[in-house]
Every structure is written in C-alpha cells, then in structure tokens.
C-alpha cells in the first residue's frame, strides 16, 4: 500500500533519515518506535508531503509520491494527525469535520452562490458524514463547541476524526495517545483496530508501548535515522539491538 525505498533526509550536517525502507501492507497496523530524535516525525512529514526526501522513493499504490505537495497527497488518500494537535481552534467541532471533507467536493463558489444542485447535494453529504463521525468518536455532544476549548482527549479524537473525514486509504498517526490516560489510550487503541478492520492501513508512531503491543501487527524500530529492527511485537521486545538502543549497552559484559 505504502512503501518507502531507501528514503534519506538530511538537514545540513544532521542525517535525520538515512536509507530507510519500510512498507505498510494493506489492512495492517504498522508501528514505528524509536528513542527521541530518531527521525520518526521526519519520516511521517516526508510521507505526508510536509517535507521532501533528499533521496529514495516513496510509493503509494505503486505510484511515486515523494515530490507531491501536502494537499495532493491527502487527495491521493493519505491522511495524518500531528504530534502537537493542529485543529482549527476557532472553528466548531463540526466545522473542523466539514473542512476535512474539502477535497471530496467539486462545487465552486459560483455554485454555492446560485445553490446549484451539485452544491446542495455535496453539502448534504458533508453534513451527514460529519454527523456520522461525531457519533462514532463520541463528539456529538460537543459538536457546536469551538475546537480549541475541548478537553485534551477530545481534541485528540477530533483530530483523528478529521483525518478520517478526508476518506483516506492510509492513516499516519503521530503519537496519537500523547497526554492521554491509560483508559483513554486503551479506548483509542480499540478505535484504531476498528479502523483497520474497516480496511485502512495505518502507520502509528508511539512512545506508549502498551498501545503498540495492543494494536500493531508489525513494528519497525528507528534509531539515528536508520531502521535497526523489524518484526512482530514479541520479536521486538526481546531483540538485543532494540534493547541496546533504548537502554544502552552493558559495558562490563556482566549480566
């Protein structure tokens, strides 16, 4: 579905990503973990068109997308959330979900002025879909509130709902549970699994290992811009290279 081949990105002297290859197969949840500064967010930025790699290829459905701008990538079917939530704070929750459906519509401003049938049909569809998402993510009761005034957990869920409003095939989640309590994290994990069962492919960056173990079908470990391990949750947990990256090497050799 989504495939990275030898992707590199350097910022001056810092090589944030060097020769990263990974693939997100259809209907799978792929986890991407790694210590702080490993290049996880850089990787997602490169896939979502916010940043562009210096080398390598990113394929989506076999089509190279590494040079496409952000909005084109969303239109192709890749949606993302941000580590530090980026909602439209002054808009209501419902309006955020309407903006999310921007790329699904065709009606232009003149059609809106003259109430063309296409405009009315599209607006009806937007509203219906927004209500559906509000219901699904338990946001119906706050639909009229300004998004910026929501409690933190609701903001996270709204951002996920807004990403889904773009009708993606691949979803990139950048630390979706940051700042959530264990109950909220578990509930979000179940949401993510539901989405996979609905046919989405998901790449999730996470620090919360309980979420990673709960949802991920396979895991990649990134350290200093390179993939150092790849496998299932259990394989990663016991991989000595991963343990070294997280905890450091035991120099004495004494166990």
């Amino acid at each position: 579905m989504l495939e990275l081949i030898n992707v590199s990105r350097g910022f001056g002297g810092v090589q944030a990503l060097s020769g990263v290859s990974l693939s997100v197969p259809p209907q799978r949840i792929v986890g991407l973990i790694g210590p702080n500064g490993a290049g996880k967010t850089t990787l997602i930025n490169n896939v979502s068109g916010l940043d562009h790699p210096n080398g390598g290829q990113i394929l989506f459905d076999g089509q190279p997308i590494e040079k496409e701008p952000s909005h084109r990538i969303t239109r192709l079917g890749i949606a993302r959330t941000y580590q530090n939530i980026r909602l439209f704070g002054e808009m209501t929750v419902r309006q955020n979900l309407l903006v999310g459906q921007h790329s699904l519509g065709r009606a232009n401003i003149l059609e809106a002025v003259f109430f063309s049938p296409r405009y009315r049909r599209e607006e009806r569809q937007y509203r219906a879909r927004a209500e559906e998402l509000l219901e699904r993510f338990g946001l119906a009761s706050v639909a009229g509130m300004a998004a910026g005034n929501l409690p933190y957990g609701d903001q996270r869920r709204l951002e996920l709902a807004r990403a889904l409003a773009t009708e993606p095939k691949v979803l990139l989640l950048d630390e979706p549970t940051a700042g959530m309590n264990p109950t909220e994290t578990k509930a979000l994990g179940e949401h993510i699994q539901d989405l996979r069962n609905d046919g989405l492919s998901i790449l999730v960056i996470e620090h919360d290992m309980s979420l990673i173990h709960q949802v991920c079908d396979e895991i990649y470990v990134l350290n200093f811009g390179q993939i150092i391990a790849h496998g299932t949750s259990d394989e990663i947990r016991t991989d000595p290279v991963v343990i070294e990256a997280y905890l450091g090497r035991d120099d004495d050799g004494a166990a």
Binding site: L50, H71, R86, V99, H102, A112
Partner: protein
C-alpha cells in the same frame, strides 16, 4: 428606490451626511470588504489602493475615450484589476505577514509611479517608432484626468453592496469560505485537509483586487477627477483602518468601519481643524477598548464587564479556583 434614498439622505442630513458623503461611505464600505477578504484568509495584503487606482483609471478611460456606459466600465475595471492581480499574487503570496505587507505596498507605489509616467513612456516609444517627436496624452500623469461626468448614482452603489453582501453570506457556507478560515488558522493543517493553499490564497487575492477595482471605477465617476495622488500609501492606510475599526470577525465589520470612518469627519465639521484629531481618537479608543472591532460580540462583552466591574462570567474551568483577576 430613489424616494427611499432621498428619504434616508434627509434623515442623515442633520448629522452632516449629504448625498456625496453618503456615496463615498458606500464606496469605502466596498473597499472595507476588499481588505476583509484577504485578512479573512490570513493575508496581510496592502495592495488595495493600487488595484483601486487600476480600476479607476481603466473605468474612466473606458467611459471617456471609448464611450462605454458605467456598467461596461465597471466590468472593465474589475476585470483589469483581477487580471493584474494574477501575476502579482503568484510571487508575493508566498510571503507572510509583514513581508507580504511590504511587497504589496511596493506594488501600490509601482502602480502610482507608472500612472505618473505612462504618457511620457508611451510617447517616447511612439517617437522611436515613428522617427519624429510624438506627444501622447491619455492619462495626463500627475495632473490626472479631469472633467469626468458624475455617472455613479447612489442606487448603483447600494445594489452593488447588496449583491456583495449576498455573495459574502454564500461564501461563508461554501467550501472556499471554510478553506479560507482554515488557512487563516493553520496553513499546514489546512494543506493536510487537501486544501490547495497557494490556489485559495491567489483566488482570494484576485477577488479582493476585483472589489478594489470596482470601488475605483465608482469613485472615479464620483470625484470627477482621478489623480495618482489619490491612491497613494495614505489611501491604503485608510482602507486598513476600515477593517480595524469595524473588526474582521464578520464581513459586516469592515462595511460598518468604512461607513463610520467616512461619515465621522463630515459629522464632526463643527470641530473645524480638530476633527481629524477626534477621528484618530475614536480609532485609538476602539483599538484599545474593543480590540475585536465595533462589530464583535466578545469584545463588547469584555468592554461592558470592564466598566461594570463584574467578574468574568462564566468562570472558565482552568482558573476556577481564583475569583479575582490581576488588574
């Protein structure tokens, strides 16, 4: 309609608003909307006076040299301003905030200076081509075009403004309107919603230019003379003041701003040379006490609380523990 307008003028006369003043109020309301559109999309563009000049000159030349009716001139002026906005917008809209402001001020100056030298420039090219000295006069440089008939009627302006208001309400219920709000609040998030940020910004810039062009055509046929000095930097600042006074939280704000700031100096004629001071004072008071502008409910409720000394209500959850606020 005429009777209605005359009635309105009779009511307004005691506060110093005669029909010409009334007409300028409406022209300035259009200019207020013109700058509102760009601000609404987060663009701090100050090119409005430049586009107004283009509209005014093109419109006046169309009625004077080509004998078109005002409606034709209006279309011509709007199209000219819109077309010129395309090559200006594509490079400058990549800039942000104050940098965009500087670039667009530069555009305004270029327009003004080109108008000043247009006749000499064309004349010298003709001289080169024909081999003998040719004097070319079309827009008369700094002297300006004089003796323009007063073609703009109050009902033209009212009709234009009504259509504009309808357009604005529809804009808010459209994809484009939502995309504009999204871009103002967070460009990166807007792009990841599939919004083509560069395209939307350019469309908005063109719409703003078209409105400024229309205001230019109307004002050219009101003042009976168009000179490049009328569209300088101070005009740009005036237009910005409409948006600041009225506030940009709704489109109604800049319209009110344009109306009030045009009417105020006329209503204050009894203050003689101090009326400018008073107008400035009003603007200053609004900026300090109603930072959201005249048409903004939250800034009014804060303003009222300030003078009734009531605590903030409803108390927001985060600061619920303390009942008193600093200051």
């Amino acid at each position: 309609m005429d009777a209605l307008i005359n009635g309105l003028i009779e009511i307004l006369k005691p506060i110093g608003i005669t029909e010409p003043v009334f007409q300028f109020m409406l022209v300035n309301a259009i200019l207020g909307v013109s700058i509102y559109l760009t601000l609404y999309c987060g663009l701090f563009s100050l090119a409005n006076a430049g586009f107004m000049a283009i509209g005014a000159y093109v419109g006046v030349i169309l009625t004077q040299s080509f004998d078109l009716p005002l409606f034709g001139a209006l279309l011509g002026g709007m199209i000219a301003a819109g077309l010129i906005a395309i090559p200006i917008g594509i490079p400058t809209l990549r800039l942000r905030d104050i940098y965009l402001a500087i670039a667009t001020i530069g555009f305004g100056e270029i327009v003004r200076i080109m108008i000043l030298n247009f006749d000499d420039f064309v004349g010298s090219i003709l001289t080169l081509v024909q081999g003998e000295r040719v004097r070319f006069t079309l827009i008369e440089g700094a002297r300006g075009i004089k003796g323009i008939p007063k073609l703009t009627e109050s009902w033209h302006l009212i009709l234009f403004l009504l259509i504009l208001m309808f357009f604005l309400t529809r804009l808010h219920h459209s994809r484009l309107g939502r995309a504009m709000t999204a871009i103002r609040q967070d460009e990166i998030a807007a792009a990841s919603m599939g919004i083509n940020v560069v395209y939307v910004k350019n469309v908005v810039f063109i719409m703003s230019a078209i409105l400024a062009g229309a205001a230019g055509v109307f004002s050219g046929h009101l003042t009976r003379i168009v000179t490049p000095q009328a569209f300088g930097f101070d005009k740009t600042v005036d237009i910005l003041a409409f948006a600041v006074l009225g506030g940009t939280s709704t489109w109604f704000g800049p319209i009110v701003g344009g109306l009030v700031l045009t009417a105020l100096p006329e209503s204050l004629r009894f203050l003689k040379e101090y009326r400018g001071v008073f107008t400035g004072l009003v603007l200053l008071v609004v900026i300090v006490y109603l930072p959201g502008g005249l048409i903004n409910t939250t800034s009014w409720s804060k303003f009222i609380r300030r003078f009734t000394n009531r605590p903030e209500s409803p108390p927001d959850e985060n600061s619920g523990h303390s009942t008193t606020r600093a200051n």
